[in-house]
């Protein structure tokens, strides 16, 4: 699924964000990426959907050679991925339904499957009855659920989440984690960067800890390991 060899990322400013990173993530895994702010966590996540390019090394995602791919191939890499952000990134002038359908529209998915697929994912995130609401009428947790619905509506093989619970209270965070858990159960790989010690410690999943641009720990059933 994801294969990194000797990945190094140096920003234009000269900052070395990642160095000598080797990671393999298999299909169906649930992986937490933890580390302090500025440790390289975000860079790690962003490289997976080619928001950032490795300066050197090897990176394969879903069989795509991220480093050497043509620009025109990038959309097809991303169609296999569902990306979720801390700040939800919903379109305020579109309803819940439209926000999710938008993801299908822009990859020119057939119209007849749209209604069904959108309803199905809204069911998964428990927002079926709010499909006509606008984001401003929803709580933070609900907005993030819409974002998750949008991320999975095109049936990606990997869901990448960058601090998805960062803006949510603990209880709401658990609702979100429950959804991720179910998505993962259905076979989707999940890579999630987080600061939330409690979540990581409770879920008992694979933990990749990054510090100063290096992977300092990679455990199959890990804990957060820092004082958050």
């Amino acid at each position: 699924m994801i294969h990194m060899r000797n990945v190094r990322k140096v920003y234009d400013t000269g900052v070395v964000a990642l160095d000598g990173v080797n990671v393999d993530i298999k299909k169906g895994e649930f992986v937490f990426v933890v580390g302090a702010s500025g440790a390289g966590k975000s860079t790690f996540i962003k490289m997976l959907f080619r928001e950032e390019l490795p300066t050197s090394g090897e990176l394969l995602v879903n069989g795509h050679d991220v480093v050497n791919m043509e620009r025109s191939e990038v959309p097809y890499l991303r169609r296999g991925l569902g990306v979720i952000f801390q700040d939800y990134r919903l379109l305020p002038d579109k309803t819940v339904f439209e926000n999710v359908a938008f993801a299908m529209q822009v990859i020119e998915a057939p119209r007849r499957t749209m209604q069904r697929s959108v309803n199905a994912v809204l069911e998964v995130v428990g927002l079926r009855d709010k499909y006509r609401s606008f984001p401003s009428q929803l709580s933070g947790g609900e907005q993030q659920r819409v974002a998750i619905a949008r991320a999975i509506v095109n049936s990606p093989t990997i869901v990448i989440a960058d601090e998805p619970t960062g803006n949510l209270d603990p209880e709401t965070s658990w609702d979100i984690m429950d959804i991720f858990h179910r998505i993962n159960q259905a076979g989707t790989t999940i890579v999630m960067a987080t600061h939330d010690k409690h979540i990581v410690d409770t879920m008992q999943r694979r933990v990749i800890a990054i510090e100063g641009g290096h992977i300092v720990r990679d455990e199959a059933r890990g804990v957060y390991g820092y004082e958050a």
Binding site: F49, R71, S72, P75, Y76, L77, R78, R79, L81, V83, R89, L91, F102, A103, Q105, V106, I107, E108, R111, R150, A151, N154
Partner: protein
Amino acid sequence: MKLRTSEYFLQEVFHSLKRNNWMTFASVGTVAVSLFVLGVFLILVLNMNRMAGMLESQVQISVYLEEKLEDSDHKKIKSEIENMQGIESVKFVSRDDAKDKLAERLGDQKYLLEALGDKNPLPDAFEVTVHQPELVETAAAAIAQIKGVEEAKYGQDVVEHLFDITRLMRVFGLALMVLLAGATLFIISNTIRLTVFARRKEIAIMKYVGATDWFIRWPFIIEGIVMGCFGGLLAALALRSFYAAMAAKIYSTLAFFPLMPQYPFMNYVTVGIILAGMAIGAGGSAISLKRFLKV
């Protein structure tokens, strides 16, 4: 492109034209003004070219004679001309005939001649026709040497001047065109930039979920084309009335002026101007997308 997609594009374009209504208005207006000026120059240059072409193809030389020549002198000159090479016909036009002809040509403005009273300032003349337009210049030069001939005039004299003017207008028109096209491109690209800015969130999301570059670009390109098309349409409509008014004005004084007939000429101009507008619109979008849309 799928039907559903084109529907989506058109919706996006419509919304964004409405959202930036003032900029849209300014863009369409600039395109219209620019293309109108361009069109005016185009019409003038094309008409002058046509006039030059017609004058060039004339095979007639007007030979004006000195005053106070006898009939015998006229005969002598006539036969001398007729003996030259390439001459087709030589016809005598007396000064009285010439005055009548002029009066006829002046039409409504005949009163100008009446002011002269009984005086006739026109000379006696021969109208000489040669076989081919290429012969005109040498023939005229030779005729001018004949004793008793004041001067030999022909259309190509005028053609030289006309070409000078046309050249000048072309240079001037081209410079103006480049300037206006630059301004138009600038204002359209600015409008598109506003649209890109207003839709930056959407664009970001489109990229994350895997929309292709062209899927993202198309609505902006279409928006530019639509603005250019409307601007071109306005310019073309204005040009049609301009040409109709100009033709009416010219024909009312100079009935035989060789203007391009309005149809189909103005239909070609209309199509050309609208296409130019669309091209400018697409170009303006492209500039903006290159600079502001990092896809």
